[in-house]
């Protein structure tokens, strides 16, 4: 084969379509390795569980003993700020837990 012919052959063969590889169970193998789908009920229960755990943790660290004296000593504005902060932390924790479980199990 001359240099020109070899060159042309190489260009043509390099660009040729590859033969289709039979799936031969490949797709089934991939699908079997994916996490099992979770029902909406299971997801809802998981979110609820995370929410309860977070609520329990907040309840454990909250200064219940000083609550009355702290609350009566607070001015209106400070009381509102505290309430907003506590609910903000709680809401963020619940949302983060829900998002995490959604990503993990969905």
């Amino acid at each position: 084969m001359s240099a020109d012919k070899l060159d042309a052959w190489l260009e043509q063969t390099l660009a040729a379509q590859e033969p289709y590889l039979d799936d031969d169970g490949f797709t089934a193998g991939v699908m079997a390795s994916l996490p099992a789908p979770v029902s909406r009920r299971q997801l809802w229960l998981a979110n609820l569980s995370v929410g309860l755990v977070v609520a329990l943790l907040v309840a454990l660290v909250f200064p219940w003993g000083n609550l009355i004296s702290v609350l009566t000593g607070l001015g209106d504005r400070a009381w509102l700020t505290l309430a907003a902060a506590v609910s903000g932390v709680f809401t963020t924790a619940v949302l983060a837990g829900g998002y995490w479980s959604y990503q993990r199990w969905s």
Binding site: M1, A3, L6, D7, W9, L10, T13, L14, A15, A16, Q17, E18, Y20, L21, D23, F26, T27, G29, V30, M31, S33, L34, P37, S106
Partner: protein
Amino acid sequence: MELGDEVLIERAVKGRDRHAYSQLVLRYQSRLRQALRQQCGGDHALADDIAQDAFIKAYHALAGFKRQSAFFTWLYQIARNSLMSHYRRNIPTPDSELVEHSQAQLVSEGPALNGRDLDRAMVQLSAPQREALHLTYRLGYSNEEAAQLMQLPLGTIKSHVLRGKTKLKTILHDWQQEVCNERG
């Protein structure tokens, strides 16, 4: 009617439709496995493992797929990163036996070249040369796209393509000469 990638991705992400994702796997499994086989120097089992791993990673990351590129381009990048990680963990040794076997097979089969001869000659190229040739010729990517996929400068890709082709020509020419000499 065959659904487009966009629709299948949408169904897989929003509708949690596993069947839609299985259609994507079925559609691209051959192309991805072929591309990886080229880069694994003939180790088909490794190529298939990496391809499977890439499809699984792509499934988990599908919600974050920005659609700035085609699905296969994105999938290929995932597979390529997996392969690079694999090679970083297990540094490959040059498979001289495979090369010698390829040469011996070609010599025994005569001077007429065919696609399999090209595959055997490709084994002797460096991994970046093989990948650059595969991306630009077989998969039809432009040099710019190949540069992006391989995360290399454009000039380097052009150089890999040019040097790869030159090396292939030399190898194939030498093999033919050997056959002609043996036949006297």
